[in-house]
């Protein structure tokens, strides 16, 4: 834990030693190099432009699809699915995890099921879900929820188990009833773990959502956009879709994951749970 904290200190000091302009230039430099290489290869004519479009074509496609509203519609549907699946997983996973942590009987009953289900890659269930629920939104959201529930259950369970016994006993000794014990001791004690679980669950949901959208034949969605564009050899559309996926992923990373991490680090003085 100590070592990891030190790393982030290093990184922070490295980031603050230059002015913001220099920093921006330094971060932009690798992208300029890669972009220039891409342009050189695309214009050299080694590959057909259909398969390897130059950056200006990708930018034009991106702009055209954004203005016509196609790209925002795909992105919105993907985000809605992500939120719906993740919300289901969060509600269900935290509840199950806490029950497992509190009750020995629930733990004995549920833990075998969780440990059997968790190591199977989420997408392996996809055809089964498609068979049972039919293609479309229900399968996609259900699978996202199913897959992202595992890390949430697991971490909530660990978190409740990690609440120090002495806190529970002293709260009891000071006359706390079950409800107060839960709200003021168990939940705050387990929260860093639960937040870690939510973070892992959301990351997992994001990673497989795109794959499910390709398989589940949903009418809109970025995965479907990319997959459908393959049929027509529209490499520029595919790459524009990947840019949007990268932007959403980056936003998740910066706005959600790092916030959550800082929140737990600052409040509880821990970096990893």
């Amino acid at each position: 834990m100590h070592d990891v904290a030190q790393v982030s200190d290093f990184a922070a000091s490295a980031r603050t030693e230059d002015g913001p302009l220099r920093r921006a230039a330094r971060n932009a430099f690798p992208f300029i190099v890669v972009g220039a290489l891409w342009e050189a290869v695309a214009h050299a004519g080694l590959f057909p432009a259909r398969f390897f479009p130059p950056l200006e074509t990708i930018t034009a496609t991106f702009a055209r699809l954004t203005v016509s509203g196609v790209l925002p519609h795909h992105a919105l549907d993907t985000i809605v699915r992500l939120i719906a699946g993740f919300a289901l997983a969060a509600a269900f996973g935290v509840a199950v995890g806490i029950v497992m942590g509190r009750s020995r009987r629930a733990e004995d009953i549920l833990l075998p099921l969780v440990s059997i289900g968790a190591p199977i890659p989420g997408l392996a269930y996809a055809p089964l879900f498609l068979l049972w629920f039919g293609p479309g939104n229900v399968s996609a959201v259900a699978l996202v929820a199913f897959v992202s529930a595992f890390p949430i259950i697991y971490n909530s369970w660990t978190g409740v188990k990690a609440v120090k016994d002495i806190w529970v006993r002293s709260a009891h000794a000071m006359g706390a009833n079950d409800r107060r014990l839960f709200r003021h001791v168990i939940v705050p004690g387990a929260l860093p773990y639960i937040l870690t679980g939510l973070r892992l669950g959301l990351a997992q949901a994001w990673r497989i959502l795109v794959g499910i959208e390709m398989l589940a034949a949903v009418p809109w969605g970025l995965g479907w956009l990319i997959f459908g564009a393959q049929e027509f050899l529209n490499t520029d559309v595919m790459l524009a879709g990947i840019v949007v996926i990268a932007l959403i992923g980056l936003a998740l990373e910066k706005l959600v994951f790092q916030r959550l991490e800082q929140f737990t680090v600052v409040r509880w003085g821990m970096l990893t749970a």
Binding site: V33, L131, V210, L215, I245
Partner: protein, 261 residues
């Protein structure tokens, strides 16, 4: 074994039996088509048949070959690059922005692009596995090398360690808890990616392809039996390979505390 643990084990076994029994009852009740929800006996005999005629082994071998090639490629590139990033500031400045931009893109999103570029088959799957496995390994190696205690480096330097000895005797063991965590995460991602890639970039072999192909013919028994095999392989690699790797390195070097952080 204490009475408490015996009781836990009994309850755990009872759950699994109960779930299987409920599944069996629902499957037998005839509310759902047997093609969609085959009874356990059918799944077991399908699994046994495919194991006996060797087809399941062929599929598993194809999947393992792809995942190991991609994983090896990720180690081959990610490990040295991560060490270089940790040791040399210019490398870090160049690679880190690219890695943080590429990492949030799920590897599966690249499948259609890679299919267009490389055609259907092993190349696409191996590259997708490589993409999925590269980033956890790269970033963990990088932070591991940076987390090596500077005092160790200075002490080794003061005792006259050469650059070579410093690397092999101080930096690599010091970074090993992070590297092993990275390997583990990488393999998990690779395992997910290979199944997805096999479904979409279907050649004609592999466990992911079997599951997806079985959907076309409504063979739920084939799907469930491949799921069992996939889960089994995942479980074995996680517990046996990475568990023993951890024991052989981190615990032996007395770095278990750091590994948990």
């Amino acid at each position: 074994m204490t009475a408490e643990r015996t009781k836990s084990l009994w309850r755990g076994a009872l759950t699994i039996v109960a779930v299987l029994a409920i599944y069996q009852a629902v499957a037998r009740s005839g509310h759902f088509a047997p093609a969609l929800m085959p009874p356990l006996g059918v799944v077991a005999s399908t699994l046994a048949d495919s194991l006996l005629d060797g087809s399941m082994f062929a599929h598993a071998a194809a999947t393992l070959y792809r995942v190991l090639c991609g994983f090896a490629l990720a180690i081959f590139i990610g490990l040295p690059l991560g060490v270089l990033m940790g040791r040399f500031r210019p490398v870090e400045n160049f690679v880190l922005p690219l890695a943080s931009a590429l990492m949030p893109i799920p590897s599966l999103a690249w499948i259609p692009v890679f299919i267009l570029w490389f055609g259907l088959g092993n190349t696409v799957t191996i590259l997708i596995v490589f993409y999925a496995a590269l980033f956890p390994l790269l970033l963990n190696t990088w932070s591991g090398v940076r987390a090596v205690n500077p005092i160790w480096l200075r002490a080794a330097g003061a005792m006259g360690a050469t650059e070579h000895a410093l690397f092999w005797k101080v930096i690599i063991p010091g970074a090993s808890p992070f590297i092993i965590t990275g390997l583990r995460q990488s393999f998990l991602r690779a395992w997910v990616a290979v199944i997805g890639a096999e479904m979409l970039a279907a050649s004609n072999f592999g466990l992911g392809w079997v599951i997806f192909d079985a959907k076309e013919f409504l063979n739920a028994d084939v799907m469930l039996s491949s799921l069992v095999v996939i889960g089994f392989i995942g479980f074995i690699t996680e517990r046996l390979i990475f568990g023993s790797l951890e024991r052989a390195t981190i615990y032996r070097w007395g770095m278990a505390r750091a590994a948990k952080s």
